[in-house]
């Protein structure tokens, strides 16, 4: 069964045959996979999903692949959704849950999108995976390409965190550090993609790639026992993840997995140093003004977000909000999450938790409402952000006296 038979422009609705193309030839609008939802509704069921693999592929019916699409699979997805009562108590949120996407194969949500994109690349007989990346995507493309025996060429800004550079290069792909910011890298890749027959996951594979993020919404609802949460908080970089989470929520009802349409409010989180979407939300306008990013949250540092307009629209349509936190708040939020829930997130997660706190303070969440925050990447990738705040409590000689001295002066707590 062909679940998707065409691609459609989100702006002007012109249609195209399925292939490695990403923009409308007429208006440059992004292309979107068109599904046969009625056909999917006939074959999909909660039982079939429960019997599937514990990965994103349990939702294969709602992904832009066919039965014979080769799967490039490291086991992305179906990450834990955990209650977070201690963080909830700190922030004054009654019923807080965290989607711990740091537990993906390359430790960020990007594995969801890359698994879909490179599977599709295989279907199109493309042999090289490529991307412009702020780091997490680079890690994921390099790892998935290695697993699939594909070539890879990934492009990053040259000022990325060491962890993200090493965790890409280790997989043996070509890694090109570009002197410039992410928007410069992205622009370069858009030009390279025109000239090389590669699967640029975020360029010519974008229509398929971005669909992988829908699985975050499916999993959240399934893991809550097939119930929608009242609120979801998502970080915004290009905006694609938020848009697709919202789309995923809508599809659950469309294909009959849920009896009613979602009423979940979707909220967005940005860093002050790169806040084009939050700024447009605050000003109450539709137009997202590009910015030159300057923030420690490098994985969210996209000054010209391609899906910013749609993310803004999705948030407003669901009754959500977008807020931002500065670099100090990001660091404090990383430490708070680690201290209360035992999850070490990268800077993007600090942004999400920081904005979660702000929304809670603003009274966004009513008593008893269920709130889910997406923790999308892990802390070992951005050690630089917290190095100054996460050091040995004491450094001592290997003697009992030296240790007891630390207790006496109160540096080490003498509690039970």
């Amino acid at each position: 069964m062909a679940k998707i038979d065409q691609l459609k422009c989100r702006e002007c609705a012109r249609t195209y045959d399925v292939g490695p193309i990403h923009v409308c030839e007429f208006c440059f609008g992004p292309l979107e996979a068109v599904y046969d939802y009625d056909g999917i509704a006939k074959s999909i069921s909660r039982e079939k999903i429960a019997a599937g693999p514990q990965t994103i592929w349990r939702y294969a019916d709602l992904l832009p692949v066919n039965d014979d699409t080769p799967r490039v699979d490291l086991g992305a997805g179906y990450t834990p959704l955990v209650p977070a009562p201690r963080l909830g108590a700190e922030l004054g949120i009654d019923d807080l849950w965290l989607k711990n996407d740091t537990l993906n194969p390359t430790y960020s949500f990007k594995d969801r999108v890359v698994s879909v994109a490179l599977s599709k690349a295989r279907e199109f007989s493309l042999d090289v995976g490529a991307c412009a990346s702020t780091g997490n995507l680079a890690n994921s493309v390099a790892a998935h390409a290695a697993k699939a025996g594909m070539g890879a060429c990934v492009f990053i800004p040259d000022d990325l965190e060491q962890g993200k550079i090493v965790a890409t290069a280790v997989y043996g792909s070509a890694l090109v550090a570009v002197k410039g910011n992410y928007d410069d890298v992205n622009r370069l890749c858009a030009e390279i993609a025109d000239n090389y027959p590669w699967a640029f996951v975020n360029v010519n594979m974008r229509a398929f790639y971005s669909e992988g993020s829908k699985t975050l919404a499916y999993e959240t609802v399934e893991q809550l026992g097939w119930e929608y949460p009242d609120h979801i908080v998502v970080p915004i970089a290009s905006g694609a993840q938020l848009v697709k989470v919202r789309k995923g929520l809508g599809e659950l009802h469309r294909v009959g997995l849920m009896d009613s349409a979602a009423t979940t409010k979707v909220h967005g989180a940005q860093a002050v140093g790169c806040s084009p979407v939050a700024e447009a939300f605050a000003r109450g306008v539709e137009h997202v003004r590009p910015q030159k990013p300057n923030t420690i949250a490098k994985s969210l540092a996209i000054g010209n977000p391609a899906d910013g307009f749609y993310a803004l629209k999705a948030v407003r349509e669901t009754g959500g909000a977008i807020d931002m936190v500065d670099d100090d708040e990001i660091v404090e939020s990383i430490l708070l999450l680690a201290r209360t829930e035992g999850i070490f997130t990268e800077t993007a997660g600090g942004v999400t938790v920081g904005v979660l706190a702000k929304l809670a303070k603003a009274g966004t969440f009513k008593p008893g409402e269920r709130v889910v925050a997406f923790i999308t990447g892990m802390g070992l990738k951005t050690l630089e952000a917290v190095t100054e705040r996460a050091k040995p409590t004491a450094t001592i000689t290997p003697t009992l006296e030296a240790f007891e001295h630390q207790i006496e002066i109160g540096v080490i707590p003498n509690g039970r």
Partner: protein
């Protein structure tokens, strides 16, 4: 003044598959008008019904996005390359 303009794949059907063309004009607006004269239909692809740059089209003068400069009225320094590039997703 004549400038070189880099054409992205989606627009090359209009330029007979040429990846780079020459156009006359001192500002982006003038260049777009000249491209429309050379390749009828070009302007409609670049600009919406209000004459503003379409949301998903990025235009660069040299290294800089014209949205950081003066938009369509951005002046083009002599010898600088103009690039038209579709917006792409990211992360």
């Amino acid at each position: 003044m004549t400038v070189k303009v880099r054409i992205p794949t989606p627009l090359r059907k209009l330029t007979a598959d040429k990846a780079e063309v020459e156009a006359g004009g001192g500002t982006i607006r003038e260049v777009v008008d000249d491209l429309e004269r050379q390749f009828p239909g070009f302007k409609e692809r670049m600009c919406d019904e209000n004459g503003e740059l379409r949301r998903f089209v990025n235009v660069y003068v040299g290294e800089e996005d014209i949205r950081f400069l003066n938009g369509l009225d951005t002046e083009i320094p002599s010898g600088e390359l103009v690039s038209i590039i579709p917006a792409v997703a990211g992360g």
